[in-house]
């Protein structure tokens, strides 16, 4: 009997989809609008203030789409890293035996998480803009880093073969991680004291240097210099980006701090007492007894929080950071009128990134699960 209702439900859903799509086409036809992705190859014609992939106003809308995706990914990734570091600190501080520290952390959580994220972003953006000086009187740190209301200007590595450099660094990071892991597992297996840090760091530094030397790639450091209205050279982080990262890291750290506190408290008290009885100090108890067990409780809600960071990054539009929603769903829709295609593509991107983050966390979860013997 059950399958009859299931079949009816499927038929009903198909009918709703049919009517919705039919209406969409009728309405578009009635308004003289058309569907299609041909607009992606049209010249966009507008400039974008901040982009990781090369872009000029003569590039097409497909390039705008890529700029939007990379800008969204950048702000999400950086915000995740900073909010995680800050969140763990806040979470552990809340459990500190020091009354002042734990109270301060508690007050931080209560104030920050009860204010809307948009308000955080607007406050940081306006504070950052108003407090910082104009480029001509920028705050300089050793002639290398400059801080002004046009953004943070950092020294940048420039190369005639940037692709090679990126690949070399990626390989070095992976090799260094693999070496570190195999050395520590060797140490655990044999009980011998092995310094895993030094060789790993050496690999991390030497591999790219070797790659550059062997291929004869030109690498130079470009320092930001004041020329005319703005700083030229170096790497410019626009204030919209810094404000967004600050606001999102601070806001989400409050939630992550709560998750960390709750998952540490979920580890039964007996475990800590047993560790103390075995003569473990504070750090060893945390590192080898509490955290490995707390992580299993922490991961599912943490992945949820990471997805919130991704979706929250679209609030960037309020301060004009050129993320996917800003440049593609905002400006591009207005210039081309292709709302349905553009909104569809944007939804697909957010869905894909969300699923990817979910999959990565699941993988990590799988790696840290209790191994039954």
């Amino acid at each position: 009997m059950g399958w009859v209702f299931q079949a009816l439900l499927v038929v009903a859903l198909a009918w709703v989809a049919h009517v919705a799509i039919g209406n969409l086409y009728d309405n578009l036809a009635a308004r003289g609008l058309k569907l299609g992705f041909d607009f992606l190859w049209q010249e966009a014609g507008f400039e974008i203030a901040f982009h990781l992939v090369p872009y000029t106003s003569s590039d097409n809308y497909w390039r705008v789409f890529l700029v939007g995706i990379t800008n969204t990914l950048l702000v999400t990734a950086v915000a995740i890293v900073f909010s995680t570091i800050l969140g763990f600190t806040i979470g552990i501080a809340q459990l500190s035996g020091n009354w002042a520290v734990s109270r301060a952390a508690r007050i931080y959580v209560e104030i920050v998480r009860n204010l809307p994220q948009l308000l955080h972003i607007l406050i940081w953006y306006n504070v950052a803009l108003r407090a910082l000086p104009a480029p001509r009187v920028a705050i300089g740190v050793g002639d290398m880093v400059y801080l002004s209301n046009r953004g943070v200007f950092l020294p940048a590595l420039t190369s005639d073969r940037p692709g090679l450099l990126v690949i070399a660094i990626l390989i070095a990071v992976i090799a260094a991680l693999a070496l570190f892991r195999s050395l520590t597992s060797y140490a655990e297996r044999t009980g011998r004291a092995v310094n895993a840090w030094l060789p790993s760091l050496a690999v991390l530094v030497l591999l790219p240097v070797l790659a550059v030397a062997l291929t004869g790639t030109q690498v130079s450091v470009s320092l930001p210099q004041l020329k005319g209205f703005n700083f030229i050279g170096g790497w410019a982080l626009v204030p919209e980006l810094t404000a967004l990262v600050f606001a999102m890291a601070i806001y989400n750290a409050a939630f992550i701090g709560e998750l960390v506190r709750a998952s540490i408290e979920a580890v039964s008290k007996g475990q800590r007492e047993a560790a103390a009885a075995l003569g473990f100090g504070w750090w060893w108890t945390l590192r080898f007894i509490v955290i490995p067990q707390a992580v299993r409780v922490l991961l599912p809600p943490l992945s949820n929080q990471y997805l919130n960071i991704l979706k929250g990054s679209s609030l960037a539009v309020a301060i004009g950071y050129p993320d996917l929603v800003g440049v593609f769903t905002g400006i591009s829709i207005n210039q081309t009128g292709r709302a349905i295609e553009i909104v569809g593509m944007t939804m697909a991107v957010y869905l894909a990134i969300s699923l990817l983050i979910g999959a990565l966390i699941n993988l990590f979860n799988h790696m840290t699960r209790i191994v039954e013997r």
Binding site: N23, R31, G320, G330, I333, N334, G337
Partner: protein, 345 residues
């Protein structure tokens, strides 16, 4: 901020409605639904645009765009106050018009090929000929736009000014960094705080910005004007009857200035004028209003509500306003301007 969020919701609701309701638009539908509703839904800029659309402390709307909405409401409904003003940023304005959220967009929207053909919306006329320029702090010491290489430039996100700006710099081989904000308000704030060196927009908007920022002597508009912007009311293309009504309401206001009909003398002229042109416009003779599907007093009502074109300009943007924009190209054709009306015959 509230307005911004509300616009987002209006847009979202409009898109959903457009997708799930079957609305077959026919000629005359817009006018019919305005009459059935008893309200004209009119899209204007955000409500903080000095001279264009402002909401005063008594919750009354003022400005050039607002007055044009009033003229159309007076022509269609006979009452200039029966309007729901919908404040819109340019980013959401056309989508809201297409989805039926507003009947008429009386915003500073420039007529461009892509909007006309690809967005399928129509400009029944132009009520402002404006030019895009640059506003800079005098203390910056810039004398010409050609000196702006490397500058940070404030501009409205999703506007055609953004495109003009990129074209101009590309043409001259100069570089710039755009600071694209969603609203004029945010642009003005960014200019004031020094987030950008100059602000690129049409002259009417720059004049509005100066009057809002105060200290007019601190600011300078650079001599280069990089575009000519025919700005006008926008309607959906599928209803040519409503397009005619909006177009001829504008023509009536321009013709009224040429015929020296004003808000003050319109009733008197209706009773006493012997000019056949004045008589036709004010519905004493002929049935132009009926042919548009309106009353014969359509033009009379519009002029009574906002005055003629010249009065509307001077009150909101010109010498009788805080902005003091020169009339220039917006003078009548017989006064070295571009404003003219097709013949009322």
């Amino acid at each position: 901020m509230l307005g911004y969020l509300r616009n987002k919701w209006t847009l979202a609701a409009g898109c959903v409605l457009a997708a799930v309701t079957v609305a077959s638009a026919e000629n005359g539908d817009t006018q019919k639904s305005i009459k059935a509703r008893g309200l004209l839904n009119c899209g204007v800029s955000s409500g903080v645009q000095t001279g264009m659309s402002t909401l005063d402390s008594a919750a009354k709307w003022n400005g050039f765009e607002v007055d044009f909405c009033r003229a159309v409401a007076a022509a269609v409904l006979g009452d200039a106050e029966k309007i729901k003003f919908v404040p819109l940023e340019i980013k959401t304005a056309f989508a809201t018009l297409q989805s039926g959220g507003i009947d008429l967009l009386a915003r500073t929207a420039t007529h461009t090929f892509v909007r006309d053909i690809e967005l399928n919306v129509a400009w029944p006329g132009a009520y402002l000929y404006d030019s895009q320029g640059f506003l800079a702090k005098k203390s910056l010491g810039v004398k010409s736009a050609k000196e702006l290489d490397g500058a940070s430039i404030c501009v409205s996100a999703g506007s055609n000014y953004e495109l003009n700006l990129a074209d101009y710099f590309r043409k001259n081989g100069l570089k710039f960094t755009p600071v694209a904000a969603n609203s004029r308000d945010q642009n003005e704030k960014n200019l004031e705080t020094g987030r950008c060196d100059v602000y690129a927009n049409v002259l009417s908007a720059l004049a509005g910005a100066v009057s809002k920022l105060g200290k007019p002597d601190d600011w300078v508009v650079l001599p280069e004007l990089i575009s000519m912007e025919p700005i006008g009311p926008v309607v959906r293309k599928d209803d040519s009857r409503f397009r005619d009504i909006v177009g001829w309401t504008l023509n009536a206001l321009i013709a009224a200035e040429e015929l020296e009909i004003t808000q003050a003398n319109v009733e008197k002229l209706k009773a006493s004028s012997t000019s056949p042109e004045v008589q036709r416009l004010l519905g004493v003779t002929g049935d132009f209003g009926v042919k548009l599907g309106l009353g014969n007093d359509w033009a009379l009502n519009a002029i009574k509500a906002v005055g003629n074109y010249g009065e509307m300009f001077e009150r909101n943007l010109g010498n009788k306003s805080p902005i003091k924009l020169e009339r220039g190209l917006n003078n009548l054709w017989n006064n070295k301007g571009l404003m003219s009306s097709p013949l009322l015959r």
